[in-house]
Assembly symmetry: C2
Homo-oligomer: 267 residues x 2
Amino acid sequence: STRIIAFMNQKGGVGKTTTTVNLGAALAEQGSRVLFIDLDPQAHLTLHLGVDPTDVDASVYDLLVDGETSVESVAIDLGDGMALLPAEVDLAAAEQDLGAMVDRHRVLGGKIKPLISQYDFVLMDCPPSLGMLTLNALATANEVIVPMQAHFLALQGLSKLLETIQLVRQNVNTQLRVSGVVLCVHDGQTNLASEVVNDLEQFFNASRKLAMPWSQAVIFQPPIRRNIKLAECPSFGQTIMQYDAACAGANDYRALGQAVLAAAPGA
Amino acid sequence: STRIIAFMNQKGGVGKTTTTVNLGAALAEQGSRVLFIDLDPQAHLTLHLGVDPTDVDASVYDLLVDGETSVESVAIDLGDGMALLPAEVDLAAAEQDLGAMVDRHRVLGGKIKPLISQYDFVLMDCPPSLGMLTLNALATANEVIVPMQAHFLALQGLSKLLETIQLVRQNVNTQLRVSGVVLCVHDGQTNLASEVVNDLEQFFNASRKLAMPWSQAVIFQPPIRRNIKLAECPSFGQTIMQYDAACAGANDYRALGQAVLAAAPGA
Ligand SMILES: Nc1ncnc2c1ncn2[C@@H]1O[C@H](COP(=O)(O)OP(=O)(O)OP(=O)(O)O)[C@@H](O)[C@H]1O
Ligand SMILES: Nc1ncnc2c1ncn2[C@@H]1O[C@H](COP(=O)(O)OP(=O)(O)OP(=O)(O)O)[C@@H](O)[C@H]1O
Ligand SMILES: [Mg+2]
Ligand SMILES: [Mg+2]
């Protein structure tokens, strides 16, 4: 019953990494055991958690393209109930190398199988694309969380995103469902934000009676407000809980942690 | 002497599209003839300029992978001195299809050659990656402008970005140089922003005496402040000049237009 969650959105800079790190930290603070997986060649999750991607012995890249590499040799213990499978800058090459393999989207799931039962949550941070790294995350996950900003261009990308999830669910992973959307860098005061949130709510309500992978999706409450501390803590290699446990950003992600716990399948 | 500019940053959501559109609109407002090229499979530039990417006869995708397609058949006249080579949602496939060709990074430059002299500026909007679409832009451009946010993770990606430009200049395009950085969604009040800007300035100053592609790069002034109007106008398919010509966002991009005109090689 480990919850394996892909944080995906092909739109860039919407808060995927910030959400993966700080939601994970909130869950760990509540006693959950959390494994982070960095699937982005930019290695921002890795940096954010205080690990130097140029200094890593074995990364997610080795795990994906080298049959010999074991997941145990890649996992780094971060303490406080958290562990990490780090990325390295070569990870972009994995998109190409995996391309040549059969069942290339299943590689990640096969490799992490031995570890899954040791964790309550496996949180996978995806790059801003719908390529092979994101597909590995979708093939492995049982849930998808979509971080997004309440902006027009963000809404545009949603149909492509959901279409991809639909395809993966039909052809690769029948368990896959969208748990919901996290509104990031949220400015609740603007008309634009309210309009986008309305459009999103209408869309999810309209899908409730159909058997879509997002038919049970919610807009997680609360939205995560813009807070400079959330942009500062990656430069110290810290989660927001380590950096400033009492700030608004930490409280927002703590509340999101509660919402995600409550959204457990069968909860 | 047409200025061919690639707007690139592999970091997502930093303002590449917003800057390409609104800087282009500012230049056109001043009388320049501007050709926009949308190289992003998300087709956000195309949407932002009021064109439906699902309704396009011939797109940049056809231009890149179909030897028969002429650039004249792809170009859409937008009026007011602006034209567009639109993207379509299949453009992601071009990254794969181009992969099989020889000299695949030179395809775009060859195709747009007939049109270049008709414009003062050719502005290419890149996706958040360092793949074949971005490489085509870099092989074609004589200048690179890097939109970025004054955040820690944005600074991290800069070295990879510059390394790529270095490689392209050495092996593919000796003309390529970085004109500068545009600070987007800028919040000048925060310590984080000042620290990042300081780090950037130090870095550029340190490169002045070396023959790097960024040795003449500047941080364009003024920074572009956060302004909800800039996030609203894409939903109307309008540039900021069309949407709200007197707002702060329009003024910031107008001032950037002046700075870019002043930064012309040999200006
Ligand atoms: N609530 C917030 N308040 C302030 N800054 C934020 C917030 N959330 C994220 N940021 C900052 O915004 C930028 C983009 O966020 P982040 O890197 O998490 O997005 P992403 O979707 O992972 O990007 P990419 O597509 O490049 O992987 C980062 O500099 C981050 O520090
Ligand atoms: N100065 C600004 N003020 C307010 N919102 C802005 C500003 N600049 C950009 N935005 C908004 O921020 C989001 C990201 O901007 P944009 O799409 O231009 O980035 P990008 O780098 O092109 O993203 P991608 O990497 O996905 O191509 C968009 O929703 C855009 O409308
Ligand atoms: Mg990220
Ligand atoms: Mg863009």
